[in-house]
Symmetry: C2
Subunit: 221 residues, 2 copies
Amino acid sequence: MLHEEVVGRIRAILLDGEIPPGARIPERELCERLEISRTPLREALKVLAAEGLVQLLPHRGSRAAKLTDKDMRDLFEVCQGLEALAGELACERITDAEIDAIAAAHADMVRHFHERDLIQYYRGNRAIHEAIVTAAGNPVLAGLYASVTARIRRARYVTPMTPQRWELAVKEHEAILNALQRRDGVGLAHILRAHLRHKREEVLQAGFAETEGSDVTLRIA
Amino acid sequence: MLHEEVVGRIRAILLDGEIPPGARIPERELCERLEISRTPLREALKVLAAEGLVQLLPHRGSRAAKLTDKDMRDLFEVCQGLEALAGELACERITDAEIDAIAAAHADMVRHFHERDLIQYYRGNRAIHEAIVTAAGNPVLAGLYASVTARIRRARYVTPMTPQRWELAVKEHEAILNALQRRDGVGLAHILRAHLRHKREEVLQAGFAETEGSDVTLRIA
DNA sequence: TTTTACATTTTTGAATGCAAAATTTGCGAT
DNA sequence: ATCGCAAATTTTGCATTCAAAAATGTAAAA
């Protein structure tokens, strides 16, 4: 198994929540499961720590990273900036074919909205945002976007949505598609920012904070 | 020596250009120099590869990453977005004391400009940009900014500058300070974007491309 | 003389082993 | 019964070792 594959599989385990935020990562068990020894596993954990998905505590092993409200806010803030940038760049570079593909994905998503199929809606939603980032034609940007969205994914695509919120989100997506078709970069950037700001409010209001009580024990001498 | 320290030291070696872009990274030598064994060294190299400073070629070792013109453009593009975002956030959150500190750093930098001390000028320049990012109060943003600037640092602070360019850069920095003092986030974002766009043009015109001919040999059967 | 096949050497990637550190366990004192 | 402390166990981090892959060198054939 290749190094990148090891990283990918552990990342998937973390994103699926199979190892919940804050939980210790059992080296021995993961080794057996992935059928590798500790050396490549530990290399992968260090990489994931650099990405922010894993927390390394010297001499105390590694844990799945836990996000505070502040972390979540910061991540959304950056995500807004990245998507806004991607939107602007995409408007300069996107091809007609790419726009058509996004329009199709949008139609699909709206259908899932009407069917009230949240899972499929989220899937389509994500595909659209990723397509915009891809259309920006900037692999560096795409990489950072992937790393930031990976960290907030659970929150972004798991939060329950009220019917009003959902409707607003769909309206915003109409505007997103419209701006893309008009290749209105500045407009698209604004809409994307607002869209993500609303999403962030949802997530934070839902109280997504992953800090369920510090497990640090204070010892007073 | 702690893991993070190993990563830091190798990063420094790469940023100093001690191992030039494209050059092979001699594992054995680095081990002796850092007085560590191959295991922690290789862990660090994997982390640096995830950061984009090192290229891992399966079964062929690691090389210091080489940047193409396209890479450089992409990095600057993202850097513009990150700094613009940082500028906007900084205007919302910066304290008077922080503004005063930046004003002082600015005055220093202008002095170095009049003294035609490019090294010190660059040092002050960098301190200002970093102070703005810090003032944004978003560690996630600061982390991404650090990673992106690390990759372009050699270009950004090594490119020779014409007197006109230099003068323009100083003027832009006046505007940056001014916008900060007025806490004009949108204005600051615009100035920072233009400032970096100019810097990018400089760097690309200087032909910084780090690709001195592919060393791939094509063999036709 | 050039090219190709093969053997040797070097280097990479991963498993194992070992010492240090932390956690857990067990026992005695209050 | 509970708290405190020390021994035992586990876990971590790194060095070493080992097998496989790639690079290098050599010699024979075209």
